[in-house]
């Protein structure tokens, strides 16, 4: 087919000749420039970190560029424990479990679960949005913000997140995030975002809404100085252990180990072409 010519000109973009990083330095081995003899994480020897510091310290260092204060390390550690498992009813965990029982390669269980955990409803995107929300309103009064957000009509069906990280779950207040938030906000290491979130959750309690897991993690990350863009991935990292554990638990079981609905419970509501 004869084609009309289109003017396409390559842009004169000044691309970097080498990728740059402030995070990690690999000292080449004297006998092989492809192999690293020593690794530095923000200037600290990885071997020295391994011998003298915890995983939580190193995790904080990777993202923040400095080792955490003992208070910050404790806050992060408590959060890592509290949210290590979204639980076997969470859609992200169920995705890993479905893959496990479906005999998907075990290497894929975690990425599959984490993909599902990226969503804007109780997932990574909501954490990112919640950090932005908490940063934006840090100087505002929680009850005034709640009042403004409650003004629009709450949907008749399903849950309502009046702000990212805050709302109802299955029609009520989710007790576990609230308990975790209560402990974190009572701890002397808690910061302004956790305290603001606590006041906000208290304001919306009469409307049967409160902290969501995404809101609590967002407030902690906010208080630890994490940028909103880190929110989704950090949430995935924090929840990863439980997702993998549940996926692996089912990987060796027969396909009958999970429900496969019979026709009576799989209802096709339209049988004519639309």
């Amino acid at each position: 087919m004869p084609q009309a010519k289109t003017d396409v000109t390559k842009r004169n973009i000044d691309f970097a000749t080498r990728t740059a990083t402030k995070i990690w330095k690999e000292e080449p081995s004297a006998h092989n420039p492809y192999l690293a003899e020593e690794c530095l994480c923000h200037g600290y020897s990885l071997i020295e970190l391994m011998e003298g510091r915890s995983f939580v310290d190193t995790l904080f260092l990777l993202f923040q560029g400095e080792l955490p204060s003992p208070d910050h390390a404790r806050l992060l550690e408590m959060t890592l424990v509290a949210f290590c498992n979204p639980g076997p009813r969470h859609p992200a965990t169920r995705a890993a479990m479905n893959a496990g029982v479906g005999k998907t390669s075990p290497a894929h269980l975690l990425p599959i679960g984490l993909n599902v955990l990226s969503g804007s409803h109780l997932g990574g995107q909501e954490v990112e949005e919640a950090i932005r929300f908490l940063r934006k309103h840090a100087g505002d009064l929680p009850n005034e913000i709640a009042l403004a957000l409650l003004a629009p009509n709450r949907p008749e069906n399903g849950d309502f997140h009046l702000a990212p990280g805050f709302g109802s779950r299955f029609g009520g207040i989710d007790p576990m995030p609230k308990k975790v938030a209560d402990i974190l906000t009572a701890h002397h290491s808690s910061g302004a975002a956790l305290q603001w979130g606590k006041a906000f959750a208290e304001t919306i309690r009469p409307d049967n809404m409160g902290w969501l897991s995404t809101g609590v993690v967002a407030a902690v990350l906010c208080d630890l100085g994490f940028h909103p863009q880190a929110g989704a991935g950090m949430f995935q990292l924090i929840c990863a252990p439980g997702i993998l554990a549940h996926g692996l638990e089912l990987a060796n079981k027969p396909i009958s180990a999970m429900p496969f609905l019979d026709e009576e419970h799989y209802v096709i509501e339209h049988n004519t072409p639309r």
Binding site: M1, Q3, A4, T6, D7, V8, T9, K10, R11, I13, R18, T19, A20, T21, K22, I23, W24, K25, E26, P28, P33, Y34, L35, A36, L40, H42, G43, Y44, S45, E48, L49, G52, R53, G65, L67, P70, D71, A73, R74, S105, A107, H108, N157, F170, G171, G172, R205, P206, N208, L261, E263, H265, Y266, V267, I268, E269, H270, N271, P273, R274
Partner: protein
């Protein structure tokens, strides 16, 4: 609402869904049929319609006519460049050089195309622009005024998705797809007409040409698809390019693709320092 000890949440919405899947898309009834949006898959679809017709049916609930599915397939071909420098494709190559499975590589590459810069990730913002732009035109605004609305200040460059292609200015695929559309008997609709008017304004201002996105999204709007439907329709848009890059790298020894020496990374961080003595937890 008062929340006393005896308070019970209203969970009727979820109770109605517990233990049952109610669906409009269809499903498999063993021994009877496979239903697909009301069609019998074996009777009505297999061997009778194209794969792209079924893909579009499943993504939107509506079976398009063959010519639209053929046009869509051509558009997918136009996004199948086997070039390992393109971001999503290089992820396929990197997966290949790690000897992952092809599914890992293609799903990772497809996921990468959920980008604000290129690929299906640009669809929502792109379609919203064209839908709003047409509404403005209907309200009497000129293409010039619509573009001005997108400028932060009068001297700023208008930033509109679909009119700033990364790497190159202009798009070799538009003329080919436009010819195909004419050949298939599609008339230029109001969204696409406006897209070309906007291109002319932007070209006069900045010499920037429209790219494929600014052609395809208005075309699909003109065919009656919504932003969410188009996002779903295009979800595997880059698949074929990724699988090409994966395959070539996977056939080589591990880490043979585009290897880097330690010093190929430019370290800009802190120099070597001692770990401070750890204070006791307070």
């Amino acid at each position: 609402m008062s929340l006393s000890i005896t308070h019970h949440d209203n969970t009727a919405f979820w109770d109605n869904r517990r233990g049952v899947i109610r669906t409009r898309i269809g499903g498999w009834i063993p021994g009877r049929a496979v239903y697909c949006h009301g069609y019998d898959m074996m009777e009505d679809l297999v061997g009778k319609v194209s794969y792209f017709q079924v893909l579009m049916l499943n993504a939107t609930g509506r079976l398009p006519d063959r010519r639209l599915a053929d046009w869509m397939e051509a558009y997918f071909i136009g996004n199948s460049y086997p070039d390992a420098r393109i971001w999503c494709n290089q992820i396929g190559s990197l997966a290949g050089t790690m000897h992952t499975s092809p599914l890992t590589a293609t799903s990772a590459g497809i996921l990468a195309s959920d980008s604000k810069m290129y690929g299906p990730g640009t669809v929502m913002a792109g379609v919203n622009f064209f839908v709003e732009a047409l509404a403005k035109k209907m309200n009497g605004l000129s293409a010039e005024e619509i573009v001005t609305d997108q400028q932060r200040h009068p001297k700023a460059k208008p930033v509109i998705i679909g009119y700033a292609r990364p790497i190159a200015n202009g798009d070799e695929r538009i003329a080919t797809l436009d010819l195909l559309a004419k050949k298939l008997g599609f008339e230029r609709g109001e969204h696409l007409t406006l897209a070309f008017e906007i291109e002319q304004v932007i070209y006069n201002k900045t010499k920037e040409r429209m790219n494929l996105l600014a052609y395809v999204l208005p075309f699909l709007c003109d065919q009656g698809y919504t932003a969410r439907e188009i996002y779903r329709l295009l979800s595997a848009l880059v698949y074929a390019g990724v699988v090409a890059c994966y395959g070539e790298a996977a056939d080589q020894p591990g880490e043979a693709f585009f290897p880097l020496q330690c010093n190929d990374i430019y370290y800009q961080g802190k120099p070597l320092r001692k770990i401070p003595e750890k204070k006791c937890l307070s």
